[in-house]
C-alpha cells in the first residue's frame, strides 16, 4: 500500500515537531515519526478511508456541537501492536436546538479529547467514544439530544455551560485539556 501523507497528518506532524521551546533530539523525532507511520501501516487503512472516517466522525460530532475543523486533530497511534484512534476536536459552542433557548456561542473552545478506540489487528472501523468537557453537560445527556419534548432540565445544563465561572480562561489560548 503506497502511503501518502494526508495533509491533515502532515499538519499534525508539523505542529508536533515545531512546537515547544527545547528542540527535540533526532532520537525523539524518529521515534515519534515511526509511531505514527506504523499506526497507519498496521491498520491497513488507506489514507482515503482514514479521511472518510474523519469526515464522518466530524459530521456526527457537528450535529451536537460546533467544532472548529481547522484546529481539529485526528491521528492513529500504536501501542504494543494495538492501534489507537485519537481525535482532538476543539468545541466552539453547543448547537442551538430550539428557538428561544439561549445561544451558546459564548462558550469558549474546550477540547473534547475523543478517547481511544482500539483497532485490534486489521481494518475494523473503530467506534469512537466521546469525552465531554467539564461544565458542558453530563456524559449521559448527549444520547437523548434533541429530546422529543421540551425538557426544562435541559436549560440548567446549558446555563451551567455558559456560566462564566466554569468557562476556561480566554487568555490561555482558549484551550483546555481534559
Amino acid at each position: 500500500m503506497p502511503l501518502r501523507c494526508p495533509p491533515m497528518l502532515q499538519e499534525l506532524l508539523d505542529r508536533l515537531f515545531s512546537r515547544g521551546t527545547t528542540p527535540k533530539t533526532s532520537r525523539e523525532t524518529v521515534k515519534r515519526r515511526l509511531q505514527i507511520l506504523l499506526a497507519h501501516d498496521r491498520t491497513e487503512l488507506s489514507p482515503a478511508v482514514v479521511e472518510k472516517m474523519r469526515q464522518e466522525i466530524l459530521e456526527v460530532v457537528s450535529r451536537y456541537v460546533e467544532i472548529d475543523p481547522e484546529h481539529s486533530e485526528f491521528s492513529l497511534e500504536n501501542d504494543q501492536r494495538t492501534t489507537i484512534l485519537t481525535a482532538n476536536l476543539p468545541i466552539r459552542g453547543i448547537k442551538e436546538f430550539f428557538p428561544g433557548l439561549p445561544k451558546a456561542d459564548e462558550v469558549a473552545i474546550a477540547e473534547a479529547d475523543t478517547a481511544a478506540a482500539e483497532v485490534p489487528g486489521v481494518s475494523e472501523v473503530p467506534e469512537v467514544t466521546e469525552g465531554v468537557p467539564p461544565g458542558m453537560a453530563s456524559p449521559e445527556a448527549p444520547a437523548d439530544f434533541p429530546p422529543d419534548t421540551l425538557d426544562l432540565s435541559l436549560l440548567d445544563v446549558i446555563d451551567a455551560a455558559i456560566d462564566p465561572k466554569t468557562l476556561p480562561n480566554p487568555s490561555t489560548d482558549g484551550k483546555q485539556t481534559l
Binding site: T22, P23, K24, T25, S26, R27, E28, V30, K31, R33, L34, Q35, L37, L38, D41, R42, N78, Q80, R81
Partner: protein, 270 residues
C-alpha cells in the same frame, strides 16, 4: 525434532546474511548438525560470508530439477564439520522456486540436521514467501533506523499472517555512543515500537567487515578479542535460542568526563 528458523528483515543490508552465517556456525560449534539454506535465488551471498563460494557445484535448483541428489548440492564446511550450506542458484530468478518446493527441500534436510537456518532475501515478494514457507520460527533482523524498523514491522505482520508466531528480534549495528547522545534510537525504543521479544543486540563493529572480507564468520575467531563484542553478541543469541537465560551485553559507552558533559550542554540538538 529439528528447528527450522528463517532469518528475515524486509529491508536489505541490515545484516540477515551475516547473522545467518554466524548463528549457523555458532550452533555447529556447540555440536549441533546445522544446515544453512540460501533462499536468495539470483543474488546469493551466504556462500561468500562463509567463504564457501569456490566449492559450489550444484544448487537447490538442480536438486529440484532432479539433476543431482540433495546430498551432492550440500557444501560441507571444512573448518566446522557440523555445518553445511545449501546454495541458491545465482543465474535464476526468485520465481524459479515455489514455496512448496522449498518446503520439500527443507523437510528432506530435517532428516539429518537438527537446525535449519533459512536466509531470506530482502523484500516481501516471492523470494520472501519461499523462505518463510518451511519455517516454524523467525529471527527478524533490524537496525535502529526508521526504514529498517518500518520494514521489520511489516515483516512481523506478514509472518503472523503466514502462521509464524514464534518471532524474535535481533537489533543489529547499534552505536551505543550515538544512543547516549540521543542521536540514535535505543534498543528499548526499537523493541517498544516493534513489540516482539528481543533475542539479541549486536553492536556496530568494524570486525564484522573484516571477517566478511576473509569469508570467516566472526564466531570462528579463536580469541575473544578478535570476535569482539559483536561476535560475543552473536554467540549469546545462539545460547538464548537454546533456552539459556543470558543477560544482554552492557553496551553503555564509557562514562563521560566532566568536559565532555559540559561540551554536550552547549552543543545544538541534532
Amino acid at each position: 525434532m529439528s528447528r527450522i528458523i528463517v532469518v528475515t528483515s524486509g529491508k536489505g543490508g541490515v545484516g540477515k546474511t551475516t547473522c545467518t552465517a554466524n548463528l549457523g556456525m555458532a550452533l555447529a560449534q556447540r555440536g549441533h548438525k546445522v544446515a544453512v539454506v540460501d533462499a536468495d535465488f539470483g543474488l546469493r551471498n551466504l556462500d561468500l560470508l562463509l567463504g564457501l563460494e569456490n566449492r559450489i557445484v550444484y544448487t537447490a535448483v538442480e536438486v529440484l530439477a532432479g539433476e543431482c541428489r540433495l546430498e551432492q548440492a550440500l557444501v560441507r564446511d571444512k573448518r566446522q564439520p557440523n555445518l553445511v550450506l545449501l546454495p541458491a542458484a545465482q543465474n535464476r530468478t526468485k520465481d524459479s522456486v515455489s514455496p512448496d518446493q522449498m518446503r520439500k527441500l527443507v523437510n528432506a534436510l530435517t532428516k539429518v540436521f537438527s537446525y535449519i537456518l533459512v536466509d531470506s532475501p530482502a523484500g516481501i515478494e516471492m523470494g520472501f514467501l519461499n523462505a518463510i514457507a518451511p519455517a516454524k520460527e523467525a529471527l527478524v533482523v533490524t537496525t535502529p533506523e526508521i526504514s529498517a524498523v518500518r520494514d521489520a514491522d511489516r515483516i512481523v505482520g506478514l509472518l503472523e499472517a503466514n502462521g509464524i508466531r514464534n518471532a524474535h528480534l535481533i537489533i543489529n549495528r547499534i552505536k551505543p555512543a550515538m544512543v547516549a547522545q540521543d542521536k540514535m534510537m535505543s534498543v528499548k525504543d526499537v523493541q517498544e515500537i516493534l513489540a516482539i521479544p528481543l533475542i539479541g543486540v549486536i553492536p556496530d563493529d568494524e570486525k564484522v567487515i573484516v571477517s566478511t572480507n576473509r569469508g570467516e564468520p566472526l564466531v570462528l575467531a579463536a580469541d575473544a578479542n578478535q570476535r569482539g563484542l559483536a561476535g560475543q553478541a552473536l554467540q549469546n543469541i545462539v545460547r538464548r535460542l537454546e533456552g539459556e537465560t543470558v543477560p544482554f551485553l552492557d553496551l553503555t559507552p564509557p562514562a563521560d568526563d566532566f568536559l565532555a558533559r559540559l561540551r554536550r550542554l552547549f552543543r545544538p540538538t541534532e
